[in-house]
């Protein structure tokens, strides 16, 4: 599908006062631009964490490799797939809401939430298994980074639930249904997803 096609489609389904016009599809920022400013700041903060992690990793790669063997990579992959699917539901939710199929969109945001809860559930299982094996925040440098990065990420997931609830609340009643707010919430949720993709690569799979 080309961009022009997408724009035409958007125009067909969009209400008359919608900001999308066939011609300016290439100039359309999804959601509030304010959220994108936030995403940029968060991306920079996390980038600094990742660079600091890498700087420490190269000083003692043997320790990091040895510690990585103790991680449950299967659970890491599962969680990555869960977040990807949740993101997919959220992206579809934005589409459905744009096409004014609000009931479908509402169901999709609920699925997103369920998958988010599943992600946190697996994370808790992972943490409790590691703690029971004696691997804690202060065990060594790698596990400090591991617990720190995953915990800060889970904190973002928890904040993400607030955004998902806002989106669900918007979709629920015909009195609200602001497409802009739904897109803003979706943007936050996808940020949580792509940050996890980097965390997954850096903690679980690089050698």
């Amino acid at each position: 599908m080309t961009d022009a096609g997408a724009a035409a489609d958007c125009a067909r389904f969009a209400p008359p006062d919608e900001r999308i016009r066939p011609g300016d599809a290439a100039h359309y920022v999804p959601g509030q631009p304010d959220m994108w400013v936030f995403v940029l700041v968060e991306a920079l903060i996390f980038a600094s964490y990742f660079v600091i992690y890498m700087l420490h990793r190269v000083q003692d790669p043997a320790l990091y490799l040895r510690s990585q063997e103790r991680l449950n990579a299967g659970l890491g992959v599962t969680n990555t797939l869960i977040l990807l699917v949740s993101s997919w539901f959220m992206a579809r939710c934005v589409q459905s809401s744009r096409e004014r199929r609000y009931d479908v969109a509402f169901r999709q945001v609920l699925f997103t939430m369920v998958l988010g809860l599943l992600f946190i559930g697996f994370k808790l299982i992972d943490w409790s298994r590691m703690v029971s094996e004696g691997l804690e925040l202060s065990t060594n440098e790698f596990f400090s980074f591991y617990y720190f990065l995953t915990a800060i990420h889970v904190l973002h997931v928890l904040i993400g639930f607030v955004f998902l609830i806002v989106a669900a609340y918007q979709l629920r009643s015909p009195l609200r249904r602001s497409q802009e707010i739904v897109e803003t919430c979706a943007t936050y949720w996808h940020m949580v997803d792509f940050l996890w993709v980097m965390i997954f690569a850096l903690l679980y799979v690089i050698r």
Binding site: D34, F38, V41, I45, H56, L137, S138, S144, F148, H156
Partner: protein
């Protein structure tokens, strides 16, 4: 009975003192500007004292042994005592900053409860934010002949109070964030509302300094101190600028004062 006869403001004169006198007499936004300049003055002074005079920022090492800590106090003896004396003197200016922020919430389409809880929370913020630190380090520097173990304890108290006190700023920031995001009067932009999330998360990040004495999560670590301080600096500069914009936008005219 109480209303003062309306006086037309004369044109702004030239010359610094004449201008200041004119503003004092006729500027309808004088109350705002007093609070705003107090805030700017305070944050600048805070930077000068904490970075330049007392050497508390960037913080010294948490893993130093006792003699090294005593030496740190001896090296900075006068800087600590004079610097924190200044901080003791001007600590009340934080109230001006909080008042301005509280006012921004009163202009929003939110309950007064937001402004009141912010002012209530932040009226004690100076205590964990800087005064406990200043008291502990002042007492540490005051008597170089004190038992080194006690100086060491005061050192820990000073820096952990500085870096590791979180709740007031966490909940205060949360209150302001919610107010900005649900506000319909567009008093402050939404991106700043979201930026509050970043500031709020730094308060979670610094909790690691209670666990680590070395490395990136210690009280002078790259993550627990440097990244957090960078976020806080961006946040502070942003709100100082946005509050200025808010004041400029206020339209009071120059009519008679309310009785």
């Amino acid at each position: 009975m109480r209303a003062v006869a309306v006086q037309a403001a004369p044109v702004l004169p030239s010359g610094l003192f004449e201008r200041l006198a004119w503003h004092w007499r006729y500027n309808p936004k004088l109350e705002f500007w007093i609070a705003w300049y107090s805030m700017v003055f305070f944050y600048n002074l805070f930077g000068v004292v904490f970075v330049g005079m007392t050497r508390v920022m960037p913080p010294p090492q948490p893993w130093w042994d006792t003699p090294r800590v005593v030496q740190w106090f001896n090296d900075n003896h006068n800087g600590l005592l004079v610097g924190f004396g200044i901080i003791f003197l001007v600590s009340g200016l934080t109230a001006a900053c909080n008042a301005l922020i509280g006012y921004s919430m009163r202009r929003m389409s939110v309950s007064r409860a937001f402004a009141y809880s912010y002012i209530a929370i932040y009226s004690v913020s100076a205590l964990p934010g800087m005064l406990l630190t200043a008291i502990a380090l002042t007492v540490g520097a005051m008597r170089p002949e004190r038992d080194p173990e006690l100086i060491y304890w005061l050192y820990d108290m000073g820096f952990m109070c500085f870096v590791g006190t979180m709740g007031i700023f966490l909940i205060g920031t949360l209150v302001w964030m919610i107010a900005i995001l649900i506000d319909k009067n567009r008093v402050l932009p939404k991106w700043f509302g979201y930026l509050n999330i970043c500031n709020l998360i730094t308060e979670f990040v610094v909790a690691t300094s209670w666990v680590f004495k070395k490395g990136v999560f210690a009280w002078n670590g790259a993550i627990a101190f440097w990244v957090d301080t960078a976020v806080f600096a961006v946040y502070t500069v942003a709100f100082i600028y946005l509050l200025r914009k808010m004041i400029k936008r206020e339209d009071f005219g120059d009519g008679p004062l309310p009785a």
